[in-house]
Every structure is written in C-alpha cells, then in structure tokens.
Symmetry: C2
Subunit: 387 residues, 2 copies
Amino acid sequence: MSLSPSVRKGPLQDLVVVDLTRYLAGPYCSLLLADLGARVIKIETPQRGDDSRHVPPLQGGQSTYFMSINRGKESLALNLKDEPDRELLHKLLSEADILVENFRPGVMDKLGLTEEHIRSTYPELIYASISGFGQTGPWRDLPAYDLVVQALSGMMSINGQADGPPTRVGTSIGDLGAGLYAALAIVSAVHERARTGEGSRVDISMLDCQVALLESHYMRYSVTGEIPDRVGSRHPLITPFDTFEAADGHFVICTVGDAMFQQLMRAIEREDLLQDPRFQSPQLRLQHEPELKSELEKQFRGRARAHWLELIGEAGIPCSPINTVADMIDNPQLEQRNIFVDLSSGAEVEYKAVRTPFAAMGYGSGSPQDWAPMLDEHGPKIRSEFE
Amino acid sequence: MSLSPSVRKGPLQDLVVVDLTRYLAGPYCSLLLADLGARVIKIETPQRGDDSRHVPPLQGGQSTYFMSINRGKESLALNLKDEPDRELLHKLLSEADILVENFRPGVMDKLGLTEEHIRSTYPELIYASISGFGQTGPWRDLPAYDLVVQALSGMMSINGQADGPPTRVGTSIGDLGAGLYAALAIVSAVHERARTGEGSRVDISMLDCQVALLESHYMRYSVTGEIPDRVGSRHPLITPFDTFEAADGHFVICTVGDAMFQQLMRAIEREDLLQDPRFQSPQLRLQHEPELKSELEKQFRGRARAHWLELIGEAGIPCSPINTVADMIDNPQLEQRNIFVDLSSGAEVEYKAVRTPFAAMGYGSGSPQDWAPMLDEHGPKIRSEFE
C-alpha cells in the first residue's frame, strides 16, 4: 500500500524521534510527529514489545488497538539492561532531535537514563516525558491511567446525563489530550532550539491536560461559586441547542440568537411559538428550556429525522444526525479529506485506520510504510545504519 | 498581577500571530500559541468585539467564558470594510509569522482576503484556517458547531451510559480538539519554513479532528464489523476498570493484569474471589464483568470511599475519587504545577483561570499581561507601532 502520488513529506521530515513510549498517551504523541513527517524509531522490549500489542481484538496476530496508534513508525527491539543495546540507544540519541517517554517518573533513572545524564550528554536533544501527574509535585510518583485523570480533574463530573452518574468520556481523552499537548510542546521546543542552539525538557502531566480542557468550567466556578454539573447534550447557556427525538431517532440542532430561532420556527412550521411569551428572548428560552424542548419534540416525533434535517438544514441552521462510527466510515467528506487510510492490501480483512487531521493537507508520514511495524521489523536496518 | 519571578518567556517568543478568530476553536488555538510565548494580536470588530465577549455569566461586564480563553492576547479593533483599517491589517500581516482565522469558508474572500492574495503577497506567512468541515470537500460550506461535529463523528454515540442516550462530551472537545491540532500544525509549518523559506497553508476541519480522536474505535469497527457503543465509565476490554459505589459515593479503580487483580482482592479482603472460577483470568473476568462488579460493590457499599481509596492506593493500584471542578481548585499538585492563574488582583471577585499545561515548564505568555484584554485595549499601542 503506497501513499497516493500527491503526498508530500510532512513539515517535520528532517527530525528523528527516539520513542520509548508504551500504551497510548506517548504513542499518540509520536504518531502525531510521524504523521507530520518525522522519522520515529520506536524502541520496544524484546519478545513482548509494547504491552499494547496484546490488547484485543487481535487480527492476524496483531492488535488493532496497537496498529491504529503505531502506524508509520519503525520498530527496534532493545534490551536496555544489556550493554550493547544500551550503546546502540546512545548512538541513536546522539543523532536524534527528540527523545519521548511515558514511564512512571523514576523508571528512566533505573534504566541509567537520568535527566542530568541525558541533558548533559545531549545538550541539543529535546527530552520529553508524559506521566500521570508530571515530574514535579507531591503526586509525581502516584500511578495513573486515563480513567483516574478523568475522575480527578472533574471531567467525569460534567460528562453524562443530568439525571445520570458521572461518566468517563467515551474516547481516552486523558491519554489523547496529553499526547496532543506534548507534541505541541515538543515542536515548539524544536523551534526554540533553532534560535538558542539548546535542547530542553518537556514535562507533560495527564492531569494538567484534563484540567486545561475544562478551562471555562473552572473560571465559571471561581467567579460564580456554582459547581458545574452534568447537563446531558444540551448547551448550558443557549437554547434550543441540544438533541431532539424524531419518529425514528435522535438528531441535533444548534440555534444561536433570535434570528436563527425565528428561522427554525418557520422551517418547522411552529411560528405560533414565536408569539409565546415564554420564548421571546434567549434568556426566556433558557429559563423555559424544558417546556420549549417538549413543544419542539411534540412536533418532531411526528416525522422521521431525515425530514426534519432536510427542512432545518435548508434554512441554514446547523443540525445533524447522531451517527455511529459505522455511519461515517464511507462518508464522502471524510473521503475527500483523506482521513481514512486503507491498510488492507493483501489482507483478508479490511483495515481502515484513521489518519491525523494533517492528512487533508497532503502530508505523508516520515516512514517508509503506512502500517504499524511488527516487533523489531526495522531492527536489522537500524542496527546496520547506526552500529 | 505580574508573573512569578521564575517565569521564562516561552519557546515561541519570536513569533507574531495575527488572530482573526472568534468563539472557541480558533481562540483556543491562539491561546496555546500565546501560552507558548507568541505575541498574539487579536483583531475584533469595533463596538461588539468577539461574539464570545457576550456569553454569560458576565462579571464586572466581562464574560468569564471570553476571559478564560483570551488571556495573554492583545486586542485591536479593526473595521475590515474600512480602507485605513484594512491597510493596518496588511501592515500587520507583512510583519507577522502566522495568520489564523475560523470564519466559515468564503468569509475571508468577502473581506478581500483571498487565499491567492494572501499567499502571493506574504509568501513566508503561515496561513491557518479552522472550520467545521475544512476548506475542501462537498461539505465545506455547511455550518457546524461543536455539537454537530460531536454528533456526526460518532463521538456522541460512544459517550454515555450503556442504557442511556448518546451524549455530548461535557467539555467542548469539538472546538478544543481542533484548536490543539491546529496549533500543532502551525508550529510544524513554522519549523518547515526555517528549512524551506516558504510559508504554508494550514487547513483544519473540526470533523476530521473528532474522527481522529476516535482512532481505535474506527479501526476496531473496520476489522470486527462490531459497531462501538456506549459502555458507561468502564473499560470495554479490561475489568475491573470502572467506577464503583461506596457507602458515600462513587470512586474509580483501574486494574490491569492478574497480579494487580490479586493485589486488589487482598487489599479489600476478598481473597475468596481469587478462587472463584468466574474470575480466574482477564478473559473470564471480562466475560463475568457484571457479576464481578456486583461482588465488589457488595463489599464497597459497607464503608466510605476514603476507606477504600486508602487501602487500594496503598496497594499501589491506580484509584481515585470522582471529583467536581470545585474539589480540584485548591489541589496541592495542581498548585505546584502552576496550572491555575489568579487574575483577581484588585477585583472584588476571585478569578482563577486555568493555564495550558505548559505552565508547569515555567513558560510565561508572550503578552505584557496575563488577563484577557478589553476590546481594543492595545489599539493605540499597536497603531503607533505599525502605522
């Protein structure tokens, strides 16, 4: 499976990443760097490799979870307790621009890779760590997974139905968020190095990242003293901006301001509600949100959602069905944006992986291949290159 | 309110951003750049300014929502239909490194700022756009808000309780995700420019970003044909890894693998379950997940969550309470990581804003001030500097 001819190498094509990451937060960070063109050399333990290689479901002996986040990387198996392999790691580090790891704080020290040693031996290297709570502070040594930082940060407390329990966000935003902030900090540090000639230390905490993603909720609490709570799918401050039930399922409508509300009422032939004193202003509509929703759903339940989406969409009001993952996999917009990559060449099963959103800009990965590597697949090549 | 003495200017301190963004996705992108040290000049319409200045709750006439995402920027009011103001914009662009906007596709053209014109006049500029569906494809002209891309992408379909409806993620991940990917693409393009001497076009679609955040869900569906669904807070593949109910509320536990499961059973004095044939392996525990949860909660409901968190935490197993936003605002770890910034100097109310996670690395913003600007606050200064 080769990249399409219009692909150009990404903007980070001159960078080499030594990647000691496992599971999700770290590998997602290095996936972003790979999709932006960097050469990512993933170091794995011999025999077992990255633990996420064993997360089900497996297909042809390969974990789909592992495959989806390790595309476009090269794999090198190294036993870091073994002297010749450690020497090879140091040769790689002397050529690399970036080192990224997501062990618990302290593990790098045990591997003989103290921060002091790395920074003094490779003064131009960007040394990035992602951990549950960061490299500093009273909690630095505590263990954390995605669910823990979602729970601690307040993220779960505001996610879910108003009458339901706090709920984990359905994608691993604790890990993916940290990977995104880390990649941004890393590329920024590379930019700084071009000016100063010096590498730097990137220290990303998964908990900090979750709290950062809740920014306005914290600000609102600090000013009003009202603790943000779950409100289901509706906008806490604007209405109608929510999910609604039609005869055959749910859909969403987003209206902002009086003009759009009037357009919506005309589109669905409920101009009578424009005269209703309860719905005369944004503030009044918010105050009477349950009654307005009930009036609208009385109307919507009479016809299928396709009917309503057509009418409301034609009126220029943002609206959409609530899709499953299956609904979008052959979508023409995503097709044209190049968001899916078909890795099934020669395989019996279809493998459609999701690219990072940079694919729409025509960037190809920094790797010779799109798919995820087998354990130590690039070992011989890398050893002959660096030894 | 000055920055603490240990603050150093961030890695992007040599970059100037002309910021035409409004609402959330674009302003979050430029907030990230500002917190990394860039000088961000926010262009707003005279009188009204960024629409998000009017999102309640207001405090001292300022929107907390606006303030939380526009910290550390400079505000300049320009009427882009007015010739002298357009000239000033072009003077700014000729000095700037980055232009970022998040209008609907087509609006920049109407302002006389076509892509061709910008790219030919300012060949070294990074020109970044964030929109609902991107600058290409059949859906490019459709309107979208956060709720629409969460609904379309499948994000809502996997977020929520197993017996509940699809649910919007409680933070605006449709906007914030796009802002993060955009900032990363922008800084990568700046890096490329140092090598090639050329600017480039950054085109970020909010929908692409949501689909990207669901990566392994799409991969899993494409391989197994099983449509991913909502599973509440539990891990779909590993158990016990979920929320549990104690006498006084819920908490979370994450166990991975047999050794950790055995430690957990010993910590909570349920060694008897280690002999239970239903719970002998990770696969069996997953298969009997409801029974295992029920056995554990029988135990947990007898005591307060503080009791269980102490026992389980001491055993080295990741676990935590489920906090509200209020629970974390004075947390010692976040305090040491410098994640909150107190903007209340001289004000009657406490304003605690959340910094981006780069604050823990000691980076200060590129701005002379931490707080968000009043409309046109920096207009006189910028006009005298550039006119």
